[in-house]
């Protein structure tokens, strides 16, 4: 059971990574990227690493995404 859960999460992770690459809209890509971070955070929580999970949730999904959003608002939103 736990194994199936693991594999589902890993597949979701890879799917998110591919989706980030495919998305032309940078804003969308950043949102998917923060989802990716959250899934990663779930995996780490599940593997008994709550400290890392918490950091990833706050930094990877939170602060990093905010910085990306600032950069997008100051530049362009669409990839050519």
């Amino acid at each position: 059971m736990s194994r199936a859960f693991d594999i589902t999460l890993l597949l979701l992770l890879i799917a998110c990574a591919l989706a980030v690459i495919q998305t032309k809209d940078l804003l969308g890509a950043v949102v998917i990227f923060s989802t990716y971070s959250l899934i990663m955070c779930l995996i780490w929580q599940h593997r008994g690493a709550p400290d890392v999970a918490m950091t990833e949730a706050a930094v990877g999904a939170g602060v990093t995404s905010a910085l990306f959003l600032v950069a997008i608002s100051k530049t362009v939103r669409k990839e050519k």
């Binding site: 990227f33 593997r47 400290d51 890392v52 990093t64 100051k74």
Partner: protein, 117 residues
């Protein structure tokens, strides 16, 4: 090899994510997109290192009255805490450079920037 990879599934997934990120860094033209790719690579390496410390059925390494062995290895977790901070620092600097480049050149597409040189 496949059987071994099935056991070491976490490591294999990290390698796949690493390659996806590398693909994004190499082929994408948009600088912000390149950098999202780099972030994917970074998380892949972090996932690899955290996976090194995992033990079957392990609990978080927090001692207390109701804690019971086995515990996961705390060292990789400590390393990755540092790694995540390094990653966000690099991201902040890279995005500042991108903002500056856009202010100077009006574009953040790598090929257009190359033409301007």
């Amino acid at each position: 090899m496949i059987a071994l990879l099935w056991i070491n599934l976490d490591y294999a997934a990290s390698v796949v994510l690493f390659c996806i990120g590398l693909y994004c860094v190499v082929t994408k033209n948009n600088l912000i997109k390149k950098f999202i790719g780099l972030n994917i690579m970074e998380t892949a390496v972090f996932a690899f290192i955290v996976a090194l410390g995992v033990v079957e059925g392990g609990d978080a390494p927090i001692m207390g009255a109701d804690a019971n062995a086995p515990f996961t290895n705390p060292i990789p977790q400590a390393l990755i805490l540092t790694g995540i901070v390094v990653a966000v620092s690099t991201t902040a600097l890279a995005l500042s450079l991108i903002i500056r480049i856009y202010q100077h050149c009006g574009t953040i597409e790598a090929d257009e920037l190359r033409e301007m040189e």
